[in-house]
Symmetry: C2
């Protein structure tokens, strides 16, 4: 029981629950633990979100794309992680991205019914859930209002960072350079020059129609660095 | 009591509550009704969000600005409306915009404490709240991934619409044309030409460093119209 207690406490939304609450949760709801091998689909984009899926161990792959499908982003995600809790409620309760296993993975799956009827009765759990969704909301809103006078390099860094999952440890972006230039209202030459500079700085690895970002946090640090230099 | 019942049922989050629940809410929590004259501050940007403020009657003014303060948007908002419920939880629990009365206004104010300890005990209220926050989240995320190949005119329409409050019935945007051109990675001339066309179509009224949008929904319809024409 102690092990289970520690496992749950590491997951999003369970933090801060007392021993008594966890015991009571374990008595009331069936926690469905799953072990998956690599390259298994966990949940498909567009499918109904009717479960809370926690990633406990391993690495998963998240595939997202722009609405017209011309830019595809593949991210490697580290645990602890929970798959699109914001898709469980609201107007559109389908998943935005596709999730699959990148390495052998341990999941905990809780039904939406158990979430609504049991987990939300725990004040701490409910607040953790609300805090998460509201924080996401605030972050997205801030990003939207962040219309700064940026150079094209800074804008490209912003777009890539804004689309990133915060648990992403590696990204692969598939897009034609001309499309990326169109998105950025710039020229192919400009975008290509910037990406090649980043390649030389080991911030990205370029290959045919693919931009690999081995460490998204490093790209954010670089963005802050050039912003500081510009403001000097 | 019947009047109060009907009043509450018109407000966000109260829809769908049964008569019995409303009666029980009215018995348990003190609902603070406020009548304000025009040009009174309701809540200031950056102040702590510790109340759920419902606008029941009248028109309010919402003032927002981009993070560097170079674009300011003033919106006239119609009821029923609730002021930034997403600011009550999460990492940053301060308001993003400033709200004041534009005409005599009726408010209903509920403390965060009453929300947490009482209102959230009503399943329907809790679900309405969650649905609202999750929907906002999905909408903002979709907007972010909506990197379509758009003309500069469509992109400007998107930016303005994305920053709009859905309850907005009139907007005034204060920004220098050169700044707007920088935000859009375009030229002053291009932006000025587009805005003047919109002015001729009565979609906006232009005056010195001010763009007035008398009907934001009309601008959205125009966006859809030019998109359809482009795709023909």
């Amino acid at each position: 029981m102690n092990t289970m207690y520690n496992i749950l406490l590491e997951l999003p939304f369970f933090q801060g629950l007392c021993h008594e609450d966890i015991t009571s949760i374990l008595e009331k709801i069936t926690l469905d633990f799953k072990d998956l091998g690599e390259n298994q689909v966990i949940a498909q984009k567009g499918s109904e979100a009717n479960q809370l899926i926690f990633v406990m161990e391993g690495r998963i792959k998240k595939d997202s794309s722009t609405l017209n499908g011309k830019l595809i982003m593949e991210e490697i995600i580290r645990p602890p992680y929970v798959i699109e809790p914001q898709a469980l409620f609201g107007w559109n309760t389908t998943l935005f991205s596709t999730y699959s296993t990148f390495s052998p993975t341990k999941l905990l799956v809780v039904s939406k019914k158990a979430l609504r009827n049991e987990l939300f009765n725990y004040e701490v759990f409910k607040l953790n859930f609300l805090n998460y969704i509201c924080y996401q909301n605030q972050k997205l809103n801030q990003q939207q209002w962040n219309l700064e006078d940026q150079t094209i390099e800074e804008r490209l860094l912003s777009v890539l960072w804004n689309l990133s999952d915060r648990n992403s440890i590696q990204q692969t972006i598939r897009v034609k350079m001309t499309i990326l230039a169109q998105f950025m209202s710039s020229t192919r030459l400009n975008i290509s020059r910037i990406l090649n500079e980043w390649n030389d700085l080991h911030l990205v690895k370029l290959s045919r129609q693919e931009i690999i970002i081995p460490n998204p946090k490093k790209l954010l640090m670089y963005k802050e660095q050039i912003k500081r230099e510009r403001e000097k």
